[in-house]
Symmetry: C2
Subunit: 263 residues, 2 copies
Amino acid sequence: MKWVRYATGTDGGSRYCIVEGDMVQEVSGTPFAEYAVTGTRRRLADLRLLTPVMPPTFYANGVNYRAHVRSTSAAVGKDYHEPPLTDIIGYRAVSALVAHGDAIVIPRESPGKIQYEGELVVVIGKTAKHLSEADALSCVLGYSVGNDVSERSWQRVDRTLWRAKNTDTFKPMGPWIETDVDFDAMETIVRVNDKEVARFKTNDMICGVSATISMITRYITLRPGDVIWMGTNDPTLDMVAGDVCEIEISGVGVLRNPVVAEA
Amino acid sequence: MKWVRYATGTDGGSRYCIVEGDMVQEVSGTPFAEYAVTGTRRRLADLRLLTPVMPPTFYANGVNYRAHVRSTSAAVGKDYHEPPLTDIIGYRAVSALVAHGDAIVIPRESPGKIQYEGELVVVIGKTAKHLSEADALSCVLGYSVGNDVSERSWQRVDRTLWRAKNTDTFKPMGPWIETDVDFDAMETIVRVNDKEVARFKTNDMICGVSATISMITRYITLRPGDVIWMGTNDPTLDMVAGDVCEIEISGVGVLRNPVVAEA
């Protein structure tokens, strides 16, 4: 099942729908609590999509694929080492989220390169604490696609990555939440201007989805709507104003965003 | 004016009130949008207070007082240096917030010391981008008190401080939002079991409130309800189960939380 959220008008209102091919079925309520199908059907193409959720807390696995850790280490002159689990979990800012179709804006102040990072997004559906790895997926509603846009010159100097990863529009997420997936069949494919620039096995992670949820919930309560971005693998390449970046995760969806310069 | 938020029942509902001495005036709406006084008055002491806001994004100034930077540097064998502005801004997790009166829970898994950090909290009232320092305070609704509880053994190994600073219950905030303050008159006073253990001039910051807001909004849009925690100064001392920790910021309020061990 695929859940989308769209903007009902100019008043900031939104509504969840279930996708059925080119059409959607509107619901009252949300997939995170009670919901009921209203009977209203709309054309998916007519909707202005929003991020499928605005998370209470936005987790990110920062260094979760070996090739990416290797190149990131090399870039700062360090030897490769397997990152300890305590280095993997971090946070991103909800303020940076934008939806499928929205522009990624390169800030006027950016002195450096902007790069895409294609990532699997885990969307939490139920409150969870102290979950074992075996039970970890019981709290998951579904999966989405994220683009962890990064400004590499700021990434070298921002200790917390606050500008490098969290500047406005740097976190496209969408287009929807897919509840039924097959981790082993997933590939992450990135295209810039319709040209494939990256492809990797999505589930080839240092700390997989179940292990990540189990580790977080040893210390922290996950809540409905929280998201966990699962990290990216190489290559991550530059984008410039005028480009269009597409992240596809097979079986989940395609997230497409144009890149523009700040006015 | 002081704004409190309280729990209306067991259904997760909440309501804002304006504090008038020992009583409160209930309002419909919120201080972040439209509101109207309902005419209902209640005794403040009868209310179960909630955090005065659940922020969309939770900012934190991590290293914002010189004595604290000096001791933190010494603890890891580094010379003191004035932190660059790009090292100051970071994030905390909304999931860790608890209210005035709620317990700070020491996790079973914690191998080390839990310490308080008394901090001024800035509560944003209006959407803001590209504010100059001179205009920065125009987006502020008011101020609250935060306790940036930290597990020091995890702080040495967590690159992103995800457990050290963001474990459940590690972010008490409250008791209310005070809209009228005098920065120059503010002192931050910490008491453990009614004994004063720290006192410093609140406004003696490396990067003050106006400079912080101006810097964030060069890159990032602040939104109503966002909070910025402004960092702490030394000394920060250990707390153990059975302690009660009070953070007072003169002219703002007193935040009081008991410390308990995880069951």
